[in-house]
Symmetry: C2
Subunit: 349 residues, 2 copies
């Protein structure tokens, strides 16, 4: 019988954060592509677009006027998925099948720069530090609201990720409940902490730093790696090295180191296929329910869809929706590829 070779043979890997498996098919990366190609935006954008609802001083759909902001700018989402209005917490719960409950929350938009045509990798480290300051302020202020127990900071980049405006920006959805994916992570982290009296992600990071094969970038305070259980072809995770449960715990050097690794990682992404690399990213950190949460460790997920080129993405469809996430290229190979990408943005070469 053939001996199992994790770099060659079909296998499943387990994600201890959400307790789900991923199917890995290393041999499959050779299949030809005859499917849909994404459209790459090649036209150069202006630094200021009078039609953009995120540019400084412009009027938004609801008549509000943006500040003449100089670094980051935060405002309430005009088409928020969540509302602040207090609604009776009536729970419709008939025989387990029709369980529903009202949900209260706040959605905000965070502009990363007044400049319409820049993206994270093209910003200066100090500009990114300003964005981090905005995230810290929002996490603190939103988290301080009585009914807000979770603050989800995220970015959708690129039209293929449903982003409707190229102006560099992210969003924050803060709400009363822990969202499904976060609740899974919460349960795993708590369980591990109770059992081992230590932090799951810090223990994992320690082993990855010894093995080295999935590390993409390491600096004094942060590591970017392709998780052993990554589902997207070039999925990565940034983890803080010191035990920090939330973004507001950062010391000044950590803030700079975080800004630096964000710039480096997104630069490598852009260099991978010489294109503005689309992704959804999101910060996972301690809930804002007033508890201490020593089981948490600050980390950022990057879920980028591209697989083979600037135009060919991985589709998480049929089998993936009905059965299980599936990947072709191994996480080890992806990490190596990203490691080998230059830290100098292709536009500046």
């Amino acid at each position: 019988m053939k001996k199992f070779d994790i770099y060659e043979d079909p296998h499943r890997r387990f994600n201890p954060l959400i307790k789900e498996w991923v199917l890995v098919s290393p041999h499959r990366s050779k299949r030809p592509w005859q499917g849909q190609n994404e459209v790459v935006a090649t036209n150069t954008l202006p630094a200021y677009d009078p039609e953009c609802y995120l540019c400084p001083g412009n009027v938004r759909a609801n008549g509000a006027i943006n500040d003449q902001y100089e670094n980051s700018f935060v405002f309430e989402n005009d088409f928020a998925a969540l509302k602040q209005e207090e609604i009776d917490q009536e729970v419709v719960e008939e025989n387990t099948f029709f369980r529903a409950k009202s949900e209260r929350g706040i959605s905000r938009v965070v502009c990363f720069s007044p400049n319409h045509n820049l993206t994270l990798p093209e910003l200066e480290v100090s500009d990114i530090e300003n964005v981090i300051t905005a995230w810290q302020r929002e996490y603190t202020n939103l988290g301080a609201i009585d009914y807000i127990n979770h603050v989800q900071i995220f970015e959708n980049k690129g039209s293929v990720m449903g982003c409707s405006n190229p102006h560099p920006h992210g969003q924050i959805w803060a709400q009363s409940s822990l969202p499904t994916q976060v609740e899974k992570t919460q349960n795993s982290l708590s369980e591990y902490f109770e059992k081992n009296k230590s932090n799951l992600l810090l223990d994992y990071l320690k082993q990855e730093l010894e093995l080295k094969e999935r590390i993409v970038i390491e600096n004094d305070h942060f590591v970017a790696l392709v998780p052993f259980w990554a589902i997207w072809p070039f999925e990565t995770m940034i983890v803080a090295k010191r035990h920090v449960t939330k973004i507001t715990n950062f010391e000044a050097v950590e803030k700079t180191a975080f800004a630096t690794i964000l710039k480096q990682l997104t630069t490598k992404y852009d260099n991978l296929f010489n294109t503005s690399f689309p992704y959804s990213s999101g910060i996972h950190q301690a809930p804002t329910d007033g508890n201490e949460h020593p089981e948490w460790q600050f980390h950022v997920h990057f879920y980028p869809p591209l697989l083979r080129s600037a135009t060919v993405k991985k589709f998480m469809v049929g089998y993936e929706m009905m059965g299980e996430s599936q990947r072709d290229i191994t996480p080890e190979k992806s990490a190596e590829t990203l490691r080998d990408c230059s830290d100098i943005h292709y536009k500046n070469r």
Copy 2:
């Protein structure tokens, strides 16, 4: 304080099959769309395409020649994600972080018709019955293989769903483990069965048939409905009315009724935006592990991405990936919209 109105206010609903919540934002369906538009294939396809690797008699990439088939045709996937080769079941399991195990399986392609330019809604009911016969045969034969414990039958339709060839076809991935999503469902069904000594989906169906507001189509043997916990804008589920755990349990009338409801539902889908409606669909039924599985009930999921028109889809990105699935239009409104769609295909009008 405002009284909670499930048709108007932001809320979460619970999916008892996989125990996950979905965020529903009914008020949000009014937001303007400035994002990516999908490309609609408008060119008419020939009935036979000499370049298509699925058309009868054509040569595939690996040199194999397709049968001159007259209804359905099944062959081994040339770029399978799973392999039949027996591999040592070695489990790499170091300190819970690097859990992996080899996985054995078989991937097949099922052509629905020799005709290159037809899709499910355009096939005759008797043609669809032939496809069901092929699914039954595959479920039986693959399920009979000793190491195969789960047979996932699914279809990716449309290039937006990663489908690389418009020739009407689906796939089957059969494997030794229960895939993640199926395992969740298995656990929920078993738990309910043990607790209530009855079948979760049949009990749910009974209540939906009384409430009526989420039913799209009903015939003597099957119901198509928008589940209370649907995440995709026009997601539906077809459920058998009689207790049937698997596709091979169908009586002749049930087979015809299933073919009929498949044709009706996909016709309504095409009529919704006057376009060949993209989706991933998949059959969930009893595992093939040799046990009886009375907790199971045969059902089919349809996950279609379109939201507002033939070119605007719902993106399950940032918040959805990091937090929780989110929908704008309510399941009740979607069911009503689909119910109102004609049963006569727009091309035949």
